[in-house]
Subunit: 131 residues, 6 copies
């Protein structure tokens, strides 16, 4: 097996997980805007994040969503937080649980990080009809 | 009721939670080194973090530990990470779950953040006889 | 006294300080948009940030505003910076002092952090008729 | 020589480098919006960043652009990243090289940092007719 | 005047300010360990940080120390924090004021940042015989 | 081909690159301390960082080292910086180039980040007999 074949194998596995977590329509939209500039980063996201990490045992998907959005709050990355909040809702996180994650974050990341994340979460929950 | 009485009430509640999460001996050692310089920050930790946040509904203590250590990994704070890893173990996180939290962090906070956190976790797990 | 009574006591104290620092109209607008999702974080902001920290001796409010906006510049949190720049102006910071805080920040947080904060400060100073 | 003369000397040198890296029209636009609030930070940018650092031996301008945009990706500063991406293109970085810098960043700063930087780079490359 | 002369002029001014803020013995020790690797960064520190920023009007040295240590707390840079805490004490910050700066930081940078800074401050205050 | 086979294929490729960049003795030492806790993170480092990113066209290894150490300076990760400075030296970065990377970083990440990185670089260069 060549590295190229290995990459293709993982990419295909990752795309299935990504479609599960973020939805088929998200994947279709993402594919429609793909090109040679975004290609490698997106393929690695599929191969590495979705095929290799999100499929591991030890934590279920809801737990992975919880720690992912908690880290994105701390890391100050609202664009990715928005996407992973959609994933978190699909993986079973309730509005109440998302509120608690970011309210808890006040103590560790400070009020500004928590408030910025609550603002993004409000936006996503409204878009998903769950606010 | 005065603000001072309110602070004392919350402080007493928080100290019980802190003793639960980090152990009576941790609290005793902490009290033995307290003084006017550290006093306010420690009291606020008891009042606000332990009495006000760790007691809330919506997430259980194990879930709160998971998102706390995930954020501390992203925030690059090894001293506090060490303390909260002790809390995480007391709140039911296994060695496997801690490994998975920081392995998952690779994708979002990068390898260096994940590896630094795994190093701290190895140290704490060994101190606790759980490695 | 119950914890709940303690929280209510601190909340009431904090709301007075918040109204002092950010203005009655800010508090009224904030209350008008409150709900169960934002409630806990806002209450903790009132109880902990405004009632418990901004009322302490040792630093006056202008000094607290100066270090707050300096930290928010370093922490890369423009939304909260904007709010605390309004507070800083209300607490007596001049346009010149704000310019100096963020110009000084160049050496410690780098040009990008300083320039992003100056941009937010220009916006707030213009809104307040002080540019 | 007074410090004031020293500052003026470096400022003039820095303005030539800045015009080289970012273009005469960028400098003209920047000068047109200058005022007493922005003046010191912009002068220090000219004196210190452009006259003192970008003129040093040991790394060429293209190498300096590469490490600058890599750091701005890690530092989460999209406004400055946008400006320095224009400089990077003027200093000889190709679309392919910029893609590789931020794709490489996935491993060290995480996917969210890399994806945010790729988004800014796509925007700048399109504005420059190079996407 | 050449750029080289300008740099030398600012360097000499900066060294006087540095000796004022951190002490003659600190400067002597720093000079004794200087070499071609550290030279440029130290010269820029003298020229830019000490000659150009710490000498500006608008904020006094104690105010500059306060915002400097507040930013270093947020930026997670304990080595530089230690040095600037010495400067802060020399510029008139009391133990009480330093305690308040970092206790205030809890709300904005989170408990871990505040506690790490209090630990460094305790160490410096003890070394200076002021704890 | 199964995902498991794909992972093994990439792992083997990555180990060769890792041995090239960091040395056979580094890899041997790393393998000797491997276990079930560190295994997944290390395997992903081999598969993803070394097999998938460090082998890509568009940037050579020296350029990848330069942007890697620049990012690690900004990200405040001294443990990983130390390892990647060894790699940078192996990939052809000179003492002078490393000095320039971190001196350049002053403007973007601030003096504290630059000075912390210069300290780590001095340590590594001395260990490698290149200071």
């Amino acid at each position: 097996m060549t590295d190229q074949e290995a990459h293709e194998t993982l990419k295909e596995s990752g795309r299935k997980v990504l479609a599960d977590v973020l939805g088929e329509s998200y994947l279709a939209k993402r594919d429609a805007t793909n090109n040679d500039f975004w290609g490698p980063a997106r393929q690695f996201s599929e191969e590495f994040a979705y095929a290799s990490l999100w499929t591991r045992d030890g934590l279920d998907r809801k737990q992975r969503s919880m720690i992912t959005v908690a880290m994105l709050c701390a890391l100050n990355r609202p664009h990715e937080l928005k996407i992973h909040l959609v994933g978190a809702i699909n993986n079973g996180c309730s509005k109440l649980e998302l509120r608690e994650i970011f309210t808890h974050a006040i103590a560790y990341a400070g009020f500004p990080a928590a408030i910025d994340a609550l603002r993004v979460a409000e936006e996503v929950l409204k878009e998903q009809g769950k606010f």
